[in-house]
Symmetry: C2
Subunit: 199 residues, 2 copies
């Protein structure tokens, strides 16, 4: 909204999804616990959605001079499937090279929070499934280890590519976080984008 | 049936499909003309189905000492997406390395026919769509060129890996083709499989 207020031509989109095929894949992934999708298949599905999204949405928008704001991209696959599911970064970056020709955003904002919030969300999600089965601790331990691997993988990407990835502390209020994000966007992108005028 | 008659433990399966996730992906691909799936996304979906199939069906069967008979595998992706859709062999083999750890069958039977039959099938499939639109010739020309690229890619794989891939002439009667296939299977696999007894 803040970027639109500056009259910048912005396209907001998300992954997985963003296209008709992508939404079909998203539904298939939401069903994945029931159908037992293995990590390598999950990774390939994420990239199928991404390849479609790039070709159908992102690249045409960039060619029209638009600013594309995308909720999650290859970094998320590297963090969740590479780190969380332990497939490793090499497999993820290999697929990114082949299927996305290594295209990366000019700027990636990493919203970093603490472990407790992630684990809390997973706990609430799983409580109904594990109620009374005595599995609460196993789920909690597993999800704690999983989210720790995800967060570590995200932070490793930020260390590896500091010019592209900016870490924003998301533990404050939504307003504080929003303010920080805007500061980073203005600082990092002002070299490329005028603050007014038609891009 | 002939292999089962020899009391060999055989598992017959197919791609894309062969698992619940794979069948969902298969349906998504059958719908792909309507949703406009791009070639790279199609390739990633094929490999998502394959990774699931390998992990859920093929590898467990091999570990139980079964003989797995699979209708289409990575060669088909190399022929259709690599050759037909012109993504190239390198992209397909790259995904195969990452997602399938380069696992290949001991023996692949390539049923080679002539161009006319493939084009005939495509013509019948498209007639209803193009009826009266004057697009018949374009479709026919496109499908002829497409199937020529597919066949050339298949033949190039057979030349590259003659020990694994056996070409069988499929222009004769079904009985003749069946006879030839059995001969090839017996010749090539007799080194590894006894003609009777429990494997």
């Amino acid at each position: 909204m803040a970027l639109r207020a500056e009259k910048l031509p912005v396209l907001v989109t998300r992954e997985p999804g963003g296209t008709r095929t992508g939404e079909q894949i998203r539904r298939l992934l939401l069903d994945s616990a029931a159908t037992g999708v293995v990590p390598m298949a999950e990774l390939a599905l994420m990239f199928a959605s991404r390849a479609q999204h790039l070709s159908e949405v992102i690249q045409p928008a960039l060619l029209q001079g638009k600013l594309v704001l995308c909720d999650r991209f290859t970094d998320s696959s590297e963090a969740y499937q590479g780190g969380g599911r332990e497939l490793g970064s090499e497999a993820v970056l290999g697929l990114h090279g082949i299927l996305c020709k290594n295209l990366q955003p000019d700027l990636t904002i990493l919203l970093d929070s603490d472990m407790e919030r992630s684990v809390d969300r997973a706990r609430r999600r799983n409580r109904s499934r594990t109620m009374g089965t005595g599995d609460e601790n196993r789920f909690e331990q597993e999800s704690r280890a999983f989210f720790e691997r995800v967060r570590n993988a995200y932070l490793a990407i930020a260390r590896r590519e500091p010019r592209r990835v900016a870490i924003v502390d998301a533990r404050g209020s939504p307003d504080e976080t929003h303010h920080q994000i805007l500061q980073v966007v203005r600082q990092r992108l002002k070299l490329k984008i005028p603050t007014s005028g038609s891009l």
